[in-house]
Symmetry: C2
Subunit: 408 residues, 2 copies
């Protein structure tokens, strides 16, 4: 039996989430070589991509050279395929250990950086269960889903300049809050929360005034990362009518260091949930191979698993088609995220406000402490994986952040 | 009597809106020299700044060299003062005509470009009368101002990647609209509108996790431009609950080519409107020199003046303090706009939806035609001016755009 697996010289277990079928891209540096550069994760190692490509496929070098993934993102789908195929070939070749060994860096020795320059950041609201839960809490007594929810993927623009690398400390934001007594005060948020999301990274730009059709998703989107859309619920609740979330979100958004190419997620494609409202043609994916993704997320708070879930109503392809339906152009480095993903069960919710039901039912952690919202010092890790072929797991890695008190 | 005026060799009338007291910055090119470069407007001429500076103040050359204002914005307030003082000195010097004459380009020969690389774009909602008018139309039967309106400057992030230079054609956006019969359809917007706004251009960045206090406005904000925040009211009305405007705005936003330094607007500083709700300390400007600005905007539609107005409740300094109150950092090139400015009288409204009261009272133009919203081929020009010292006018120039049908 021949199995598609990493070459023996790499010593990567077949079920490793960063096995040969994943090959995500990131940007790293080391103490020995502090220049930020593009790497590919393989098991617990990082392949220093530019020198490997210069050695074995020099014609591809321009696409992978530089301090970020920006050039690779801009290089377009043909280059993405070529680079991925080349790396896959090399890392399954039993004879290349000697040549490539010198370009492998242990992950534990690397510092990971923000992988690309974020152009525009859009956050969607694509999980039906999350939208329903939030609607119940923010607009009690009304239909929890607004009338537009099943007609279009609701989204809004976030702050690109405060997107930070995984591991960056999150300073507790200040802002205006309205107390239960109606008093308006200013101070550190008392309801600091997470939102566990999947992010889509745009590579190929598009022309202003032209939509990007549903079927062109793979031409424009390079890959997927994880996003923690930190949210200050008290600030958000007071500010968000009528123009949407602003300071309740804009203080920081964390992204995972590894961007998994769409090609790696091919085995994870599934049909999205059944649509209960007919879709307009530009969003109708019933006649095209679906882009639902069987990605399972997990949230850990101070090491304790608090939630495991999946479930997006809208697909990445639909979000992209909607985002550009008005002629808005895409730029290399645009990031759009799914919005919090929540499953149906109470333990499948992707935010603390849902898990603690607005603070009414504090969450009990395995260490005996309880949480309604985040305390200073709390660390949140969101990780995810998707099914690969032959039982493999496609890892999305993790996005990590610790809450710290406001700077003195 | 000595008057502060442009040197005779420039031949600029004392009351020219781009007189010696304005000296706005822009980016231009010419057919003879198609390289985009920084210029200063003086009357009907543009001073090609980099060669002039290299000749007369070479130590300032790094701040003004390059294809955009980005380096000048990043250079910080001391450099801004030095460059402005130098240019002002040269252009009032009766003896420099021969030396500088070769660096003057007639404005009519120049193509103007987007003046800076937009980092994040935020749009506020700072005019009380505009918010009241929109509230009446979008949420009939409710209090037109939401409860938070006088406590904080409401704002949201817009799409930075679709900010375009003045003169760029605006392709009519498509999108979902809900008809009066409740049917949801997709097609070209039938209620395409303008929003006449003042934009603030950030030069000096700030640190993540730190607020920028009200009194530090001038350290961070370089200057002011004009913004037309094109809006598709039908798309917006259907999509905006609960996360705010998205596709109704993101298709295009036009900015004026000339950025007027804050220093030029010093004589236009006025007290903002009386506050009827006490402000929290971080927004309270009662003890600091106020940053209300006496800027008067004018909207022309196909050459006919349809509105003349001023009136922002929140100042640029307050918007900045609010934008960063949660610790959100600033980047060089951040742009934040006032939101539509409307005065109290019906002919002082800064958008067509207000001027035609949602289409119920179509506007009659001087040529006998009527408009509720924009038609293909319509051209909108927003211009503005502010009082200078000694009766001078500080011009903000204009932002211009023509609506074209969707691309075939």
């Amino acid at each position: 039996m021949t199995t598609f697996s990493a070459a023996p010289w790499l010593d990567v277990p077949a079920d490793h989430p960063f096995g040969i079928a994943t090959l995500p891209y990131g940007v790293f540096s080391t103490a020995a070589d502090p220049v930020a550069r593009v790497g590919v994760a393989i098991g617990e190692m990082i392949l220093d991509l530019a020198p490997a490509v210069r050695l074995l496929a020099p014609q591809l070098a321009p696409a992978v050279t530089g301090p970020s993934l920006d050039t690779l993102l801009a290089a377009g789908p043909q280059a993405w395929s070529q680079v991925r195929a080349s790396v896959s070939t090399w890392l399954t070749d039993t004879s290349l250990g000697e040549q490539l060994g010198g370009y492998l860096v242990p992950m534990r020795d690397a510092v990971m950086h923000l992988p690309f320059t974020v152009a525009d950041y859009v956050d969607f609201y694509a999980s039906e269960q999350h939208a329903t839960n939030l609607g119940r809490m923010f607009r009690p007594g009304q239909d929890p889903l607004t009338p537009n929810w099943k007609h279009l993927p609701i989204g809004y623009h976030g702050r690109a300049g405060t997107i930070v690398a995984s591991g960056t400390d999150i300073v507790r934001p200040c802002g205006q809050r309205r107390g239960t007594d109606g008093q308006i005060t200013f101070g550190p948020s008392r309801r600091l929360d997470i939102e566990a999301e999947v992010g889509f990274v745009v590579g190929t730009p598009s022309r202003l005034g032209r939509e990007v059709e549903l079927t062109r998703f793979e031409e424009h989107v390079f890959g997927v990362c994880l996003v923690n859309d930190w949210s200050a619920r008290d600030i958000q609740a007071w500010e968000y009518v009528p123009l949407g979330p602003f300071l309740g979100k804009s203080f920081a958004t964390s992204v995972s260091p590894w961007v998994v190419p769409l090609a790696a997620l091919d085995p994870a494609r599934v049909a999205p949930p059944a649509r209960t409202v007919p879709l307009l043609p530009y969003l109708d994916d019933s006649q095209t191979p679906p882009w639902g993704l069987d990605i399972r997320l997990e949230v850990r708070l101070n090491g304790h698993v608090v939630s495991t879930f999946d479930g997006m109503y809208w697909t990445g392809a639909q979000m992209l088609a909607h985002l550009t339906a008005n002629g808005a152009s895409l730029r290399t480095g645009d990031l759009y995220a799914s919005g919090t993903i929540s499953g149906e069960r109470p333990d499948q919710r992707g935010s603390l406000i849902e898990l603690s039901w607005g603070g009414a039912e504090p969450l009990r952690l395995a260490d005996g402490t309880t949480r309604s919202f985040l305390e200073d010092g709390d660390e949140v890790v969101i990780s995810a994986g998707a099914p690969g072929a032959d039982g493999a797991v496609i890892g999305l890695g993790e996005v990590r952040g610790r809450v710290v008190a406001r700077l003195p």
